[in-house]
C-alpha cells in the first residue's frame, strides 16, 4: 500500500484521539469514584443504580418518619406507666379508706388526694405528642378528655409505614386505657370514689376496689400494647438500618469503580499517550528531507 503523509498524520491523530478519549474517561472514573457516570456507560447498571437509589431514599424516609412515631410511642409508654402508678396509689388510698378504723378526717384527706390523682391522670391522658393529643385517636387537635373526664377522641389508630410492606401502630388508645370501651371508665370511677370518701362511706369505698383493679389492669394492658409496638418499631428500625447497608453495598457493587484499578488504568493510559506522542513525532520527522 502506498503510504502518504496525510495517512501518517491521520493515523497518529486517530490513535492519539482514541487514547485521549479513554484517558478522559479514566480520569472521570478515578475522580468520581464511579464506574457508571451516565446511563450510556452501562445502561443495565444505570437502571439498577436508579432503582437502588430510590429504595435507599425511601428507606431513609421511612426511618425518619418512624423515629417520630417511636418518640410518640415512648411518650405514651411513660405516660401510661405514670397512670398505672396513679391507679396503684388510688387503690392504696381506697384500701385505707375502706378500713373501718380510718377516721372521717382520714377519708376526707384521702378524698382530697384522690381528686388530685384524678387531675394528674387527666393531665397524663391529655398529653401532647409530636402530632397533637397522644390519646385522642384522630382528634389530635383537641384534648383527649374534657374537664369532666369524657372522652373527646375516637378509636382511630395511627399507623406508619415501617418498611416496604409493613406498618406499625404508633399511637396508644386513650379509649381502651381510660374509658368503658376498655372495661371501666377510670375517671368516673375516681370521681365516684372521691364522692364515697367525702361521704365517709367505707362500704361504698370498698365497692370500688375491684373497679380500681380493673382500671389499673386496663391501663397496664394498653401499656403492654404500646410496648409490643415499641418492640416492632425498634425491630423495623434495625431492619431498615441493615437494609440501608445492604443497598449501599449493592450500589457500590453496581456502580463504584475499584480505586486501584482505575488508578492503574489512568497511569497506563498516561504512559500510552506519552509513547504515542513520541512515536508520532518520530513518524512525522521521518521523510526524505532528512537526507539533506
Amino acid at each position: 500500500m502506498r503510504i502518504t503523509d496525510a495517512m501518517r498524520t491521520n493515523q497518529s491523530l486517530r490513535n492519539l484521539s482514541g487514547l485521549r478519549e479513554s484517558h478522559a474517561q479514566a480520569t472521570e472514573e478515578a475522580t468520581s469514584g464511579l464506574r457508571v457516570n451516565r446511563p450510556s456507560d452501562d445502561p443495565t447498571a444505570a437502571a439498577l443504580l436508579t432503582r437502588l437509589q430510590s429504595r435507599l431514599d425511601q428507606n431513609v424516609t421511612t426511618q425518619k418518619s418512624m423515629s417520630q412515631g417511636r418518640a410518640d410511642l415512648d411518650q405514651s409508654e411513660s405516660a401510661l406507666a405514670a397512670a398505672s402508678d396513679i391507679m396503684k396509689r388510688a387503690k392504696e388510698l381506697a384500701l385505707t379508706a375502706a378500713n373501718g378504723g380510718t377516721s372521717p378526717d382520714g377519708r376526707k384527706a384521702a378524698a382530697l388526694e384522690i381528686g388530685g390523682l384524678r387531675q394528674q391522670l387527666l393531665g397524663l391522658a391529655n398529653l401532647k405528642g409530636s402530632r397533637g393529643s397522644l390519646f385522642a385517636g384522630s382528634q389530635t387537635g383537641t384534648p383527649a378528655f374534657d374537664a369532666s373526664g369524657v372522652y373527646q377522641g375516637d378509636s382511630y389508630e395511627h399507623k406508619l409505614q415501617s418498611g416496604p410492606n409493613s406498618e406499625v401502630t404508633v399511637s396508644a388508645s386513650g379509649e381502651r386505657a381510660f374509658t368503658s370501651a376498655g372495661g371501666r371508665d377510670v375517671f368516673a370511677d375516681l370521681s365516684a370514689l372521691e364522692t364515697a370518701m367525702n361521704n365517709n362511706d367505707p362500704a361504698a369505698v370498698s365497692g370500688y376496689l375491684d373497679a380500681l383493679d380493673a382500671g389499673h389492669l386496663q391501663i397496664t394492658r394498653e401499656r403492654a400494647h404500646v410496648g409490643v409496638n415499641q418492640n416492632r418499631a425498634e425491630q423495623s428500625d434495625a431492619l431498615l438500618t441493615h437494609t440501608k447497608l445492604l443497598l449501599e453495598t449493592q450500589k457500590a457493587d453496581a456502580g463504584a469503580a475499584d480505586p486501584a484499578e482505575s488508578l492503574t488504568r489512568l497511569v497506563t493510559l498516561q504512559q500510552n499517550i506519552e509513547q504515542a506522542l513520541q512515536v508520532a513525532r518520530k513518524v512525522l520527522d521521518l521523510n526524505v528531507m532528512q537526507l539533506g
Binding site: 452501562d42 432503582r51 430510590s54 397533637g132 385522642a136 389530635t140 456502580g255
Partner: protein, 466 residues
C-alpha cells in the same frame, strides 16, 4: 538531421523537466489541501519523422483517482455523519435522565414520598402539608422541564435539518455549475484537474450530510444521487425541501425537473447527518417522549386516584393532586402538561391525609396509602413500581445512547479505513515528491548540458567556417 534542430530537442527536454518540477511543486504545495488529488506529469516521446531521432512531449496530467474508492469514502462519511448526529442528540437526551448523581427526577419523586410520609406521621402539621405541596409542584416542574427539553430538541433538530438541506441545495447548484465548466474545458481539450478538485471538495462537504452516490459520465459531468433521488444531473440541480408529515414526523421532499410537485423521498434517506437527525428525532426521541408521557400519566393518575379517595381538613373528598390538560388522547403530552391541581394549589389544608371525614384532622391513612403507592406496581400497565418504571426509562435512554456511541465508533473506524484507501490512491507523499523533484532537477540539468554541448558544437562549426 541538422544541428539547429537539436536545439529544439534540448528545448523540449528543458520544457518537459520544468513541467515535471511544476507538477511536483503543485503536489507539494497542496500536501495538506483537503480533497486535493495528486497529479502525475505525463511525458511521452515525440517522434520527429524518423525513429532514431526524437524528443520529449508533455502529454498532460493524470489525476490519480478511483471512482469506486471515492464512492466508498463518501458513503463512509455519510454513515459516520449519521451516527455522529444521532449520538450527539441522544447524549443530550441522556443528560435529562441522568439520575446517577441523585439530582434528577427520581430524587424529586423521592422528595414527594418523603413529604407524604411526614404528612402521614403528622397529618395535622401545616409544615408537612406545605412541604407535600411544594414537593409535588417541584416534581411537576421537573417533569415539565424534561418534556419541554425533548420538545425543544425536536424543533432544534428540525431547523438543523433545514440548514443541512439549504447547504445541500447550494452545494448541488455549485456542482451543476462545475459540471458545466468541466464539460466545457474537456470539450476544448483544456486541463480540468483544478475544476475537478473543486468539485471533489464540494462533494466532500456534502458527503457527511447525506447518502451520496456519484456516477461520472463520458463528458466529465457527474450525476449526484442522494436519498435515492437524482440531485444533480449534468448542469441541472434539484431542490430538496424539509416538510412535516401529519403525525409531526419530518419528511424529505425532492423537486422534479419540469414538475411543480416534489416527491417524498424520506424512505430512501439512508445516510448522512440528515438520516441521523431523522432517526434521532422521529424514532429515538419520539419513543422516549412517548415512554415518558406514559410514565408521567401513569404516576399522576395513580396519585390522583388515591388522593381522590381521601378527605381534606375541611372534610371534603374527591380532589385531585395533579391537573393534566392534555392536547389530545392520553397520554400524549402528559409530561409537558403536568401541573399541581387547582384543587389543592395554595390550599395545603385540602390535602387528603385522612381516609374518612370522621378521622380528620389526625387520621393519616390516606397519606400512608399515597406513600405506599411508591411500593405498588402502578405504572407500565400495572407491572412496575414508580421507581422501577423510571429506572426502565433510564435504562432505555442509556441503551439508545450507548448503541449510538458504539455505532459512531464503528463508523469512524470504517471511515478511517476508507479514508486511508482514498489517501493511498490520491494523496500526496512528500517522499515521492522530493524524489521526483530531484529527478526532474537532474533531468533539467542534463538537458541544459545537452544545450551547452550543442552550443559548443555550433561555435566549433562557426569557427571552421570563419
Amino acid at each position: 538531421m541538422g544541428l539547429s534542430s537539436l536545439f529544439n530537442t534540448a528545448r523540449d527536454a528543458l520544457n518537459a523537466q520544468a513541467y515535471g518540477v511544476s507538477v511536483t511543486s503543485q503536489n507539494i504545495t497542496n500536501v495538506n489541501t483537503p480533497g486535493y488529488v495528486k497529479r502525475t506529469a505525463l511525458l511521452e516521446t515525440r517522434v520527429l519523422g524518423r525513429e532514431d531521432y526524437g524528443s520529449v512531449a508533455i502529454a498532460g496530467l493524470q489525476r490519480n483517482t478511483d471512482q469506486f474508492i471515492e464512492g466508498r469514502y463518501y458513503s463512509a462519511l455519510g454513515q459516520t455523519g449519521a451516527a455522529q448526529a444521532r449520538q450527539n442528540q441522544l447524549t443530550l437526551v441522556e443528560a435529562s435522565f441522568n439520575d446517577i448523581s441523585g439530582s434528577g427526577l427520581s430524587s424529586a419523586l423521592g422528595s414527594v414520598n418523603d413529604a407524604l410520609q411526614k404528612l402521614a406521621a403528622d397529618p395535622s402539621d401545616s409544615v408537612a402539608r406545605d412541604t407535600v405541596l411544594s414537593n409535588l409542584s417541584n416534581f411537576a416542574s421537573r417533569v415539565n422541564t424534561v418534556g419541554n427539553d425533548i420538545a425543544n430538541q425536536k424543533s432544534d433538530m428540525l431547523s438543523q435539518m433545514q440548514n443541512v438541506v439549504r447547504d445541500l441545495n447550494r452545494q448541488a447548484g455549485e456542482i451543476a455549475n462545475l459540471n458545466r465548466e468541466i464539460v466545457h474545458a474537456q470539450a476544448q481539450g483544456l486541463d480540468s484537474a483544478d475544476l475537478r478538485d473543486k468539485r471533489d471538495q464540494v462533494l466532500l462537504q456534502m458527503a457527511p450530510n447525506v447518502d451520496l452516490n456519484i456516477v461520472e459520465g463520458e463528458d466529465g459531468a457527474i450525476f449526484v444521487q442522494a436519498a435515492g433521488t437524482t440531485l444533480v444531473e449534468g448542469t441541472e440541480a434539484r431542490e430538496l425541501t424539509i416538510g412535516l408529515a401529519p403525525g409531526g414526523d419530518v419528511k424529505l421532499l425532492a423537486g422534479r425537473i419540469g414538475s411543480s410537485a416534489p416527491s417524498d423521498v424520506t424512505k430512501s434517506l439512508s445516510g448522512g447527518k440528515l438520516a441521523g437527525l431523522k432517526e434521532a428525532r422521529d424514532v429515538d426521541l419520539k419513543e422516549t417522549a412517548a415512554e415518558f408521557d406514559q410514565y408521567v400519566y401513569d404516576v399522576a393518575t395513580a396519585i390522583n386516584t388515591q388522593h381522590e379517595a381521601g378527605y381534606g381538613l375541611d372534610g371534603a373528598t374527591g380532589r385531585k393532586l395533579f391537573d393534566l390538560n392534555l392536547p389530545g388522547a392520553p397520554p400524549a403530552g402528559a409530561a409537558r402538561a403536568l401541573t399541581l391541581s387547582t384543587d389543592v394549589a395554595g390550599q395545603p389544608s385540602r390535602l387528603a391525609a385522612s381516609d374518612a371525614a370522621a378521622t380528620v384532622p389526625g387520621g393519616g391513612v390516606n397519606a400512608t396509602n399515597l406513600s405506599k403507592l411508591f411500593d405498588l406496581t402502578v405504572v407500565s400497565g400495572g407491572t412496575r413500581t414508580i421507581s422501577e418504571g423510571y429506572s426502565d426509562l433510564v435504562g432505555s435512554v442509556g441503551l439508545k445512547s450507548a448503541t449510538a456511541k458504539r455505532e459512531t465508533a464503528l463508523r469512524s473506524t470504517l471511515e478511517g479505513q476508507a479514508s486511508d484507501m482514498k489517501e493511498s490512491m490520491s494523496g500526496v507523499s512528500l517522499d515521492e515528491e522530493m524524489i521526483a523533484l530531484t529527478k526532474y532537477q537532474q533531468g533539467y540539468q542534463a538537458a541544459a548540458k545537452v544545450f551547452n554541448v550543442i552550443d559548443d558544437l555550433m561555435q566549433e562549426l562557426l569557427g571552421i567556417l570563419r
